[in-house]
Symmetry: C2
Subunit: 362 residues, 2 copies
């Protein structure tokens, strides 16, 4: 979107002048438009959206996403998040990872014990099945398949065997498959993303066929993400997409030409300037650095490095930026960045600012 490359979003800066920096600032207009774009896409076809909580851990924002059309339920990444969501009133919760620690399993049990809540968990090992079965609470289960990411998941061809173990375990219901093409979502060329999505889709098609041939109903195949949501929809193997980043976006997804706009920024203050060297008060405790440097939403400012509390940037000698001035930075990676903050400062079109709690953060 052109919008994400435009000049400084001055209203966001002036609206948040009194918020202590570094602080996350979100543009409610952009958030709302992103939600609407997703609703148009997922509201019109067979494939639905299961928005991923892990991207922002803000139940208020997730509620806004779910209120739009096309959503089946919600996705989360940890047992703690599942419990937060269950207690916040979400009723169809997919925990899209395996859990194997006693503390996490206890949280998962508490989530699944909340009245009216349906929790679906993932497994890729018989040990997971035994752990979930031992919780003494009804759970739906997806068998995770490695569709090319080579992280979690059974190897292709092995889902049926584990699904049978699930189906044979008391209180567990085999619900289907998960296949997450995490290796594809940020590939810069759309064609390469499409290739990986097709490989993943073929694997999931074959696993589903094997299950159904064996008489095991496969009600749900879940996966996908922001970088591949449209490709996965077209590939047809998934019933729902676990996209999360689309609602706030980041500099990495911003390079892919997706139909979502940048809604999240980090407000930072100039704390030092010596010639063309500018130092901002937003460092590694405010912005995650594993996807590279944040990009400045200010002409001529380039962030060069992040230390614990500081960003060091290069600025044109002619720039008037001085100690006390604030600018906006676009985070390189949304999920771990929001995880560094207690709140999103949501700016409405009329300039009012509300702190939306990042209440799923530990």
């Amino acid at each position: 979107m052109v919008r994400s490359c435009e000049a400084p979003a001055v209203p966001l800066l002036s609206a948040t002048a009194d918020v202590p920096t570094p602080a996350l600032v979100a543009d409610l207009g952009a958030v709302t438009r992103n939600v609407e774009r997703a609703a148009v896409w997922f509201g019109s076809g067979r494939v639905r959206l299961r928005p991923h909580f892990k991207a922002h851990k803000c139940t208020r924002l997730l509620r806004l996403q779910c209120a739009s059309g096309g959503c089946t339920g919600v996705t989360c990444a940890t047992a703690h998040e599942a419990e937060v969501l269950a207690l916040a009133g979400f009723t169809d919760i997919l925990l899209a990872n395996e859990v194997a620690d006693p503390g996490g399993l206890a949280a998962l049990k508490r989530a699944a014990s909340v009245e009216g809540v349906r929790v679906t968990a993932c497994v890729d090992d018989r040990r997971h099945v035994a752990m979930l079965g031992a919780l003494g609470v009804a759970l739906d289960v997806l068998v995770e398949v490695d569709v090319g990411q080579h992280r979690c998941g059974v190897a292709p061809g092995e889902a049926l065997a584990l699904a049978r173990v699930v189906a044979g375990t008391e209180r567990l219901r085999f619900r289907g498959l998960q296949g997450y093409e995490g290796h594809a979502v940020l590939l810069p060329e759309r064609e390469r993303r499409a290739d990986e999505v097709m490989i993943a889709a073929r694997i999931l098609h074959a696993e589903r066929a094997a299950l159904e041939a064996a008489g095991l109903a496969c009600e749900l195949v879940s996966g996908g993400g922001t970088g591949t949501f449209d490709l996965s929809t077209q590939a047809g193997a998934l019933d729902e997409i676990q996209a999360g980043s689309y609602v706030l976006m980041d500099a990495s997804y911003g390079k892919l030409g997706l139909s979502f706009e940048q809604a999240l920024f980090c407000r930072a203050t100039v704390v030092s300037r010596q010639g063309t060297r500018l130092v901002l008060d937003a460092g590694l405790k405010a912005l995650s650095a594993e996807y590279g440097m944040p990009s400045a939403r200010h002409p001529g400012v380039e962030v060069l490095s992040l230390a614990d509390e500081h960003a060091t940037a290069r600025v044109a000698a002619s720039s008037t930026l001085a100690v006390g001035d604030a600018i906006l930075l676009v985070p390189a990676h949304v999920d771990p960045t929001v995880n560094l903050h207690a709140a999103l400062h949501m700016v409405a079109a009329d300039g009012t600012v509300e702190a939306w709690a990042v209440d799923g953060r530990r």
Copy 2:
């Protein structure tokens, strides 16, 4: 220390079996020994310790550090931390960074307004002096000098001019200089660290001499860190060292052969294993990655990558590690790692575990 390279610290694992993972686990014995080593060093000479809160943001741990000998007061990195410390009963607080945002300045004012609290702030620009002077509260001020890090600080030779502005501003008291050799603290060769410390010391000596020649008393020169504490003490330019990492340590400082032992670990659970590929439930939201991968405190396990919620590791084919087993990881960088957690799970020698709140985290 040999200790930090030893076999798995089994008691820490068994003591924390019920703590949900990922979780920070600290060895109170190692913490106590690190504090005692610092007390021996700083208790016996002219140069004292001003422990840095930013390394762990845990007031209970900072109190333990200050209870030992050789401390002048405490250091912190943000105005929010200064306020937390003032409210927690610390009375001599150095904010070792410049603050220039209205929200941060308001927090600094609140901290300095707490009865019996003395706050010292840093400046490197006349604008900072004006901002601090406008707060209407008594503050001590250090002029920060760039001693080679090339981040904040006035250029060498310019401290006197700014110190005069401070001294001429109502309610501000010029207290001295800060010079932080952050560019030196993690240099792998001790000789190179020593060279940089000597350059920094010469700069600070000259600035101090210029101040005193001009009749401006320079009561305090503050700086230094864990990687250079002994070299800076010997160099003689500093009155106090702002070390923080020494008390918990990390894999990066662990390579320098310092006289402190590793006291901090991240407990992680195996959530998937396929052959020699092991996946743990500790990712970028539990461990910061900018200094590289965490090192596993388990024979034959090498962490290869961190994603949002996962670490992927290589393990010997013969390893018995399986889904549900827990291991300890040594964080690569202590400050931003602790900042990702709400608590340190402190394990005493008798195996009891207490959650010490990371109460300085935003």
